[in-house]
């Protein structure tokens, strides 16, 4: 019995300001339009069908800047004004991040091979730091086995060769 009966809110209560805050703008618009339709006898009105506002997909932009991707207006060349040259790089890089990425690939201080070699050793040593203790012990055992295999070959390499007369 208690669960079946739901308290119904009256229309006037629903029309109060605090009840309408939770509604989104579209339902608010509908409610406003409905209220306008409730016309008393004293009001004069045109007996025409309702016109609904169409959503416009056209945005009007009066500036040329976004159209042609224009650069920043302040420029300096050949080091005349170093602050402005820094600004130029900063402002123009905001527009052209893609181009700069391509350019970075061209210049490299370290060759690819060296980079690969260094990276190999780096990843191993720093990777070990973050392993849990169990995994670290496993690694240690593997290293010892590996070292014992390579030792004889290293010793073989280290033998001094006598110069032949």
């Amino acid at each position: 019995m208690a669960g079946e009966v739901k308290t119904k809110l009256s229309k006037n209560l629903l029309r109060m300001k605090f009840m309408q805050r939770g509604l989104d703008s579209q339902t608010k618009k509908l409610l406003e339009e409905e209220e306008k339709k409730i016309i008393s006898e004293e009001h004069w009105y045109l007996d025409l069908p309702d016109l609904k506002e169409k959503e416009s997909f056209i945005i009007e932009e009066r500036s040329f800047m976004p159209c042609e991707d224009l650069l920043y207006g302040r420029m300096s060349f050949k080091g005349f004004n170093p602050e402005i040259e820094k600004l130029m790089i900063q402002m123009n890089s905001k527009c052209k991040e893609e181009e700069i990425e391509v350019d970075d690939k061209m210049e490299a201080d370290v060759s690819d091979e060296e980079m690969a070699r260094r990276y190999e050793t780096l990843v191993g040593t720093i990777g070990k730091k973050f392993l849990r203790k169990r995994d670290q012990r496993v690694l240690q055992d593997e290293d010892e086995d590996g070292n014992s295999n390579t030792r004889p070959s290293k010793k073989a390499k280290k033998k001094f060769l006598k110069p032949q007369d």
Partner: protein
């Protein structure tokens, strides 16, 4: 002409008279100081107003040193046909990013708006060729005003003449003219 991204369409036309647009960076000349506000001539139908607080690091006690006749590089905060245009020398994060009073010396001249758009295009040959000549500084305002400063008066005037003539020269004529100059 159709835009590359976002489906923007615009009409490209030649005009000499500038109409203030919100967000445009322009060069203005200070014509009057009215209490807390400067009046700037930007080449439009009305003078723009610029508050003394619209500079980086400006406070009521620390006022910017702006005199009548100074050149200011700023952007429009408000620009519509119903209100007086308002300029600021500060961006939304409060930094000046190159805006403010343009320094001493240099030369200000006027060109058509179409040339400014050509010069500000991403890969402008004119600017690239000029930058090879000598060190100089350049400020381009969307209102058709250009300010140039180089080490000597002669160099400044040469750059001014090339920029003015660029409107009507073909690319070949321009390259010939620049070749003569770099030969000197």
């Amino acid at each position: 002409a159709a835009g590359a991204a976002g489906g923007a369409y615009w009409v490209d036309s030649q005009q000499k008279r500038y109409v203030p647009v919100k967000g445009d960076h322009v060069i203005g000349i200070v014509t009057a100081k009215a209490g807390d506000v400067f009046k700037l001539d930007v080449g439009g139908s009305e003078q723009a107003s610029l508050s003394y607080l619209a500079f980086e690091g400006a406070t009521k006690r620390n006022r910017p040193n702006v005199q009548v006749g100074d050149l200011i590089y700023g952007q429009f905060l408000v620009a519509n046909k119903d209100m007086e245009p308002e300029m600021v020398c500060i961006d939304s994060s409060g930094r000046s990013s190159g805006m403010g009073i343009i320094g001493q010396d240099g030369f200000l001249f006027k060109v058509s708006l179409g040339l400014i758009r050509k010069l500000l295009a991403p890969k402008c040959e004119i600017i690239q060729e000029l930058s090879q000549l000598y060190p100089f500084e350049l400020v381009l305002g969307m209102n058709g005003r250009i300010w140039v400063k180089a080490k000597t008066v002669q160099q400044t005037l040469i750059i001014v003449n090339i920029l003015e003539a660029c409107e009507y020269m073909t690319a070949e004529q321009r390259k010939q003219a620049l070749a003569k100059l770099s030969g000197n």
